[in-house]
Symmetry: C2
Subunit: 148 residues, 2 copies
């Protein structure tokens, strides 16, 4: 597959209007690595910090983003099965997070999905504010599935 990562991530965001509305965007992309950003603007809650749901959107999108830059998006698609999110401290700036996948994990997912019609993967990411403080921890379980 050819690595037009920016285009594929943009399409992924565009395909879910509720994500698009948050202003979430990729800020760094390379093979098996993504850095995403959620702007504070438009995502403030009733007490002036970033809304829990916008932090969730950022954390959950790591599953889609790492899929886009690690797996064959012409053959597979991801869904999310379960997420645990822990809010550590108030997020008062834009928030970023990074996600990676090893080549071995990408190979395992590809092989298992072709063999079994599905394969689960777990991610744990830290969401950080502009001072590099962890504001939120997100653990997700996702499942890769083949297009019919």
């Amino acid at each position: 597959m050819k690595e037009n990562y920016w285009e594929i991530i943009e399409k992924a965001v565009e395909s879910v209007p509720a994500i698009k509305r948050t202003g979430l965007k990729a800020v760094e992309l390379r093979e098996r690595y993504a850095k995403l950003l959620m702007p504070l603007e438009g995502n403030i809650n009733h007490v002036g910090m970033m809304y829990a749901g916008s932090l969730f959107a950022l954390g959950e999108m790591t599953g889609g983003a790492i899929y886009c830059v690690s797996l064959d998006y012409t053959k597979f698609y991801p869904i999310v099965k379960e997420v645990h999110i822990k809010f550590i401290r108030p997020a008062l700036t834009d928030v970023t997070t990074t996600v990676t996948m090893t080549p071995e994990e990408a190979k395992r997912l590809t092989r298992e999905t072709l063999e079994n019609g599905k394969a689960d993967f777990d991610l744990k990411v830290e969401l950080k504010d502009a001072n590099d403080e962890v504001v939120t921890i997100v653990q997700g379980t996702y499942q890769l599935r083949p297009f019919n």
Copy 2:
């Protein structure tokens, strides 16, 4: 406190633009009981079902909604500490959920917040589709705090 629940819930939704954008609304409100609805329209994901983040928004809002109809919103405000969300089956219709609080729990939270400056409460809610099937289970831990 006087029970203008519809007005206070509307203000709560308006106070978080990212929630407002989803179209989430209350459909039943009475003392210590709320039923909330997330419309499918505007909340569809890349595979045609309701987006995980919109289901999160609905589940997480139960903490704010039950606070509005159970506790003194002129004295206290809630924050969310932690959420676990499990996606059981695809949501292909509008999704609703109900949340309740016992009088004893409301009294405990009021007393502890006045005494200790904070009090935690847990909620577990089922999100259901139009066929009354459970699509998602959300467990949240919230904290009540006093206004200064």
